[in-house]
């Protein structure tokens, strides 16, 4: 395990209400310690590839998992996903699409781009909290990802 300042989870979410609820849920399940938030696709990619405001970081210090909304300003979620999965340095980072959309074409497109999981956010808050908890437990605790070098 890395030290506490190491970012374990990148949450890409533009909607402030959704963001707050997501953070609240993560906090509830004690997973809010090492979270970074990106508010649009561009910011997400800057973080992943250590550009702009994140130029000081190293790409190899990537998050353990990226929670990615699909509907984002500037670059949308699918483009972010494509960028991550098409770069050899980042393609092993697990990406979980977390979205309101149940549209089939989004599902198909995401999986064809190499998404690791696809979660539909329930309207019901309890359901949402449950989903966040399961996600965190799985990706941050159970799943073993290869070490990025």
């Amino acid at each position: 395990m890395n030290s506490s300042h190491v970012i374990e989870l990148l949450l890409v979410e533009d909607n402030p209400a959704d963001l707050e609820l997501a953070l609240r849920a993560l906090k509830k399940v004690k997973l809010a310690n090492s979270i970074a938030v990106a508010r649009d696709g561009e910011e997400a990619l800057d973080f992943i590839f250590c550009r702009g405001a994140h130029a000081g970081r190293k790409v190899t210090d990537g998050p353990k998992v990226v929670l990615l909304d699909l509907k984002l300003p500037k670059l949308d979620g699918l483009e972010v996903l494509r960028a991550i999965k098409s770069d050899p340095r980042t393609k092993m980072i697990p990406v979980v699409v977390l979205t309101s959309s149940k549209e089939q074409r989004d599902l198909v497109e995401s999986y064809s781009l190499g998404v690791n999981s696809y979660i539909v956010k329930p309207v019901n808050f309890e359901g949402f909290t449950d989903a966040m908890r399961d996600l965190g437990v799985y990706w941050l605790m159970l799943n073993q990802a290869p070490r990025l070098t």
Binding site: S101, E103, K121, V123
Partner: protein
């Protein structure tokens, strides 16, 4: 004179031997007898005299002698008298005998004459029989059976044998002729020996010269000198046989000819009836012979028969006419008839022969031809014929009208190129005519020229070759239709089609745009409408969690209502999106095992309602052909409803089944739940339509709308029957191709 007849001599002999029948002596016989007697007596006396002298003969002695003589003379006198009496008697008897003898003699002579006559007659008769035997036209032979040697054979026989009666005697018959079939001969001879005769046996014999002749043979067993012989009479029946065959052939010809051949007498009574007549008129011979010929005549033609009979009685022959007759089945037929009188040997007319031929078909054909000619004449189409040089030989009224040709003018001067417009002439000569000549037919569109107005007419033309009975091209025929109207209609249709095409393209583009908009809409609904709801729900919960204790109970309840409403709206959006998606996504049809599919649906539902105890009866369900995911949705929705609406029923029951009738399968789900009022059945399948209060039965009102959408997309239909509180029956089909 003494008769030398032995009878008389016999009589005399009897007299001399001292017989007692002097009554038969003649007078001269008696005289001789007496003379002899006297002589004998005198002789005896002279012998006595010397003896007396020697003993001193004495007078006494003489006297005594004299007395003796006197006595003797007296006796003699008496005897003489007796003799005289006898003589008279004898003469009388002699006369009697002579008469008797004369009669006998005459009788004998007569008998002798008769016998001589009979002998002459016999000789004459034998000559006749011999001649008859020799000259009989029949062949007669007598043959010894033991060695087949000819004893006798007549001239007729010998002609066949190629010999003469003198030469054949003593020769075996096989030198001259043999039975063609030796076995047959054996049987014949055996029968002859057993029964003594064999009569009228016909057989073929091979003659010495190789000819085979058919003979009628009759033999009788006779005995000559103790030997069995066959007296055989044969005659040549070859000619008769030939005549019989010829007669049989003639009879067969009459019998089997197609024509009806009928004989009738002068009263018109049928006397013969062949099978041709049977076929033509339908009556059998036994139904017609003895019946009046009038039976065949329609009543309005009875006079015809009287006329015919009159002609026959005059001895007319070969009268030919066509007329109408009636068959047994009542049908009228046209017949061609030839009537000839029949005469007997004396030349008297005794009846008539009638040869009838059914010409109904020809008549009908001729009628048809007239009808066809009228049909052709009055056809609106151009119909024409031309000879091989192109000279028009026939032009119907339609053709005259089309090319503006005078209806009264003879088209003989018209050539079929005359009414071809100049711009079509080359095409006509170089394409149409060569094609007709080579292939027998040209069909296509071209133009003709109206000779009167010069206007051009659009036509569809068929020109073809007509051939004579030997198959040789005989003439050209043309059938041409004015297609001006059709051409115009085609133009119009083409324009309309082009227009329609354009409109379809436009409409398709509009629809595609609408579809895209709809997709974008549902996409954004999916994303954008859900997220505020999530915020409403989430923050309501956050308030309850963070500030719950600060709020009065009513405030908390209201927040919970806000949450419930937000969640319900989430469901509505989900269902609406599902519904929308079902309308858009293409059907992926395949064979679906309905039994297995429904089983999994039931299992899922029972899993979700474990606390419920529902009796489910599921019959065998027919396989269907459809989109498995969508069909599954139908079953899920219907069964969910059945579970849901039996929620307050004691002993809830759900029945599932399918019925296939008239090529269509109907699936059904029946429950004994709350049911509904049929007055609202029309609303049942509408989106967001609900027939129950939310507090009683939760739901969004989209489930049955989805069911209906899926069923309709499969080409089927869905309907429901129900009664409040008694349950509901939902049925659906999936269209006629669900079974394939």
């Amino acid at each position: 004179m003494l008769n030398p007849d032995p009878f008389v001599l016999g009589l005399l002999a009897n007299t001399f031997s001292g017989g007692s029948s002097p009554g038969l002596w003649t007078a001269s016989d008696l005289v001789k007898i007496l003379t002899v007697g006297i002589f004998l007596t005198a002789t005896a006396l002279l012998y006595e005299l010397p003896r007396r002298r020697s003993r001193a003969a004495t007078t006494e002695a003489l006297r005594k002698a004299n007395a003796g003589l006197v006595a003797e003379i007296d006796t003699l006198r008496k005897a003489e008298q007796k003799l005289k009496d006898e003589t008279v008697n004898l003469d009388r008897r002699l006369a009697e005998c002579t008469a008797t003898l004369d009669a006998t003699h005459a009788e004998l002579r007569k008998q002798i004459e008769e016998r001589e006559k009979a002998q002459v007659a016999l000789r004459e008769s034998e000559g006749l029989f011999s001649q008859a035997f020799r000259h009989s036209p029949d062949c007669i032979s007598i043959v010894r059976l033991s060695d087949r040697t000819v004893i006798q054979a007549n001239e007729a026989m010998c002609i066949f044998w190629g010999s003469t009666p003198e030469k054949v005697i003593g020769r075996p018959t096989w030198d001259y002729a043999q039975w063609c079939n030796e076995e047959e001969r054996g049987r014949f001879v055996q029968a002859l020996q057993e029964t003594g005769e064999c009569l009228n046996h016909e057989t073929n014999m091979r003659l010495k010269d190789g000819r085979v002749v058919r003979f009628n043979v009759s033999s009788r067993l006779i005995s000559i000198n103790g030997e069995s012989c066959a007296l055989t009479v044969m005659h040549d029946v070859t000619e008769r046989k030939k005549a019989e065959v010829a007669a049989a052939q003639l009879a067969a010809i009459v019998e089997f000819t197609e024509d009806g051949i009928i004989g009738k007498n002068l009263e018109g009574i049928v006397t013969s009836w062949n099978s041709g007549a049977e076929r033509i008129f339908g009556y059998r011979a036994d139904e017609m012979i003895g019946q009046s010929i009038l039976r065949l005549l329609p009543p309005d033609r009875f006079d015809e028969e009287a006329e015919i009979l009159k002609g026959i009685k005059r001895g007319e022959s070969g009268r030919h006419f066509e007329t109408v007759r009636v068959r047994k089945d009542g049908g009228s037929i046209f017949v061609s008839v030839t009537v000839s009188s029949i005469k007997n040997a004396a030349g008297e007319v005794i009846g008539a022969s009638k040869i009838a031929r059914d010409i109904t078909a020809q008549k009908r054909l001729a009628e048809e031809r007239v009808k066809l000619a009228r049909l052709i004449e009055h056809s609106g189409d151009f119909i024409a014929m031309a000879d091989l040089e192109g000279r028009i030989t026939f032009l119907n009224s339609g053709a005259r009208k089309m090319i503006g040709y005078d209806p009264t003018e003879d088209p003989q001067n018209l050539l079929f190129t005359d009414y071809v417009p100049s711009k079509w002439q080359d095409f006509f000569r170089e394409t149409v005519l060569p094609t007709v000549r080579e292939k027998g037919l040209w069909e296509g569109e071209m133009q003709l020229k109206n000779l009167a107005t010069g206007a051009l007419v659009d036509v569809f033309r068929s020109t073809f070759v007509l051939r004579d009975s030997t198959g040789k091209p005989d003439s050209y025929a043309t059938v041409t239709r004015d297609i001006t109207d059709r051409k115009e209609a085609e133009e119009k249709i083409n324009r309309l089609n082009a227009d329609l095409e354009k409109r379809v393209v436009e409409r398709t583009a509009q629809l595609e745009a609408a579809n895209r908009e709809l997709e974008a809409f549902s996409y954004s609904v999916s994303h954008d409408l859900r997220s505020p709801l999530r915020a409403v729900d989430g923050f309501s919960q956050a308030v309850l969690e963070d500030f719950g204790p600060l709020l009065p109970a009513e405030g908390q309840r209201q927040l919970r209502t806000i949450r419930a409403s937000a969640q319900r709206m989430g469901h509505l959006i989900d269902d609406l999106l599902t519904f929308s998606r079902l309308s858009r996504q293409p059907l992926q049809r395949q064979a679906v095992d309905t039994n297995a599919l429904v089983r999994t649906v039931i299992d899922d539902l029972q899993q979700q309602a474990r606390e419920r105890s529902i009796t489910i009866r599921c019959g065998s369900l027919a396989q269907c052909f459809g989109d498995p995911a969508l069909i599954r949705q139908v079953w899920v929705n219907l069964l969910t409803n059945a579970f849901k609406y039996t929620g307050k029923t004691t002993d809830p029951q759900v029945e599932i089944g399918s019925i296939t009738e008239a090529g269509e399968t109907r699936y059904f789900v029946r429950d004994n739940g709350i049911g509904f009022d049929m007055r609202y059945a029309g609303k049942l399948f509408g989106v967001f339509q609900r027939l129950h209060r939310l507090e009683d039965y939760e739901g969004t009102g989209v489930g049955l709308a989805i069911v209906q959408r899926v069923v309709h997309r499969h080409g089927g239909r869905v309907w429901a029957e129900a009664k409040p509180n008694e349950g509901a029956l939902f049925q659906f089909t999936l269209g006629p191709d669900t079974l394939s």
